[in-house]
Structures are given as C-alpha cells and as structure tokens.
Assembly symmetry: C2
Homo-oligomer: 103 residues x 2
DNA sequence: CCGTTTAATAAAAGCCTGTTTATATATTAG
DNA sequence: CTAATATATAAACAGGCTTTTATTAAACGG
C-alpha cells in the first residue's frame, strides 16, 4: 500500500485560509510593513498611507482579530504594532502542513 | 534622527499580495495539501476533493501562474505537484519584509 | 459639563469573485 | 477521419467585499 498523507481537519485549513485572506490585500501588507518600522496610532497610519481613518480601521480589524498585530491603548489613542512571532508561527504551521511526514 | 525602515516598492508588495491572494481560499489549500501527498491529474483531484473539474482548473490557474504548483503534461493528462521550494522562497521573502534591518 | 479628538462601527454604493453550466482545445484510440 | 477523453476557457449568475460617507463611542481638556 502506498504511503498516504493524513489530511488535516477542515477547521485547520479554514483557519489557515483566514490567515492568508487577512494578508491578501496590498493595503494590509502596507500597513504591516509600515508598522514593522515602529508602533503607530490609527491616525498616524492613515496619514502615512494617505487613506481615510475608517479604511485603516477596516483593514486593521482582521489583522487584530487574528493576532497579527498587537494593540495598546493609551488614552484615546490606540497604538498598533506587528506581532512578528504570531506571523512566524503561522508561516511555520503552513510549511509543516505541506511537508508533513507521510504515515 | 530616528531610524526609519525603507519602504518596499509597490510592485514588490503587489506581487506578495498576489501570493497571499492565491492561498486565501480553503479549496486552494486543500488542493495544495492533497498534492503534497503525491502528483495528481486534474481529474483525480476533482474526484478526491469532490468538486467539478472546471472548478479544479479554475483554482489551479493562479497556483500555476505563480509557480506554486508544477505542471507535467503526459498525453492528454496533466499532472500537478506542489512546488515547495517556491512557496518557501516567498514565505522567507515575506518575513524579510517584516523584519528588514533598519537603515 | 461641553466641546474636541481618536477610533470603531453602520449604511450605502459599486465592483469583483467563486461557482455552475456550456463550450472549445488537445490528445488518443479505433 | 471520427469518436472519446482530459483539460482549459467562456458566459452567466449569485453573493460578498472594499471603499466612501455618516454616525457612534470613548477619552480628554477647559
């Protein structure tokens, strides 16, 4: 019998699709790269990227929900920064899925 | 003066967004994982995943265009397999973008 | 309190995408 | 050459998403 790879459960693939979905947009990548420089508030991000504040909030949401960015509230300002560790973790998880040892 | 990160050119981010866009779908991830097991034809993939042949072809296209899967034609059958090296390369490229050394 | 600032959410509009169904293209068998 | 098989592409439909505009919520300053 041929060795066959265990198929990952649907939930795992769905979660991974959500991760890639959160990164599929060039605006989101710009946000991440900009935040890779330094922690910034929503308004600062909007100015730097020349887009409206609601649009920044709209794109920050999935990044925040998935834990790809970290949030720190100070007064009425909200500082965002990249969560490199969490991103690295998900990247590793993906590569493991593709190269998983055969059973 | 504060150290500031060089902003990657738009083309680079657009290409990276295309990469994530190609992976944002659970069906595409299922295709990749299934192909991670062994080389398969389009028809085999359709049967294994219980979806129509045109839908498989539709999802294979962006993966093929970006070089995430490899193609080998034999007669009228087309065998697809995962290009792990290319995927790894893009993953590394992304992490470099996020953690690029400050200037 | 009251006005101002910061960020998130809601509503509306226009656009794009995934899926199905149908068709075209290429290769093989007879 | 004709029929059959394998794959890719086209057309059409349905549903969802991004963006803008407007509003709400929360926190601060006077």
């Amino acid at each position: 019998m041929l060795k066959t790879q265990r198929q990952p459960p649907d939930a795992e693939l769905r979660e991974m699709a959500r991760y890639f979905y959160a990164l599929k947009d060039i605006l989101r990548l710009r946000i991440l790269v900009t935040l890779g420089d330094r922690e910034m508030t929503v308004t600062e991000l909007a100015q730097e990227l020349r887009i409206s504040q609601p649009l920044v909030s709209f794109h920050l949401r999935p990044l925040r929900v998935l834990g790809l960015v970290q949030v720190r509230r100070v007064g009425r300002e909200v500082f965002y920064s990249v969560n490199v560790a969490e991103i690295q973790r998900r990247q590793d998880e993906f590569m493991n899925l593709l190269t998983r040892a055969k059973i």
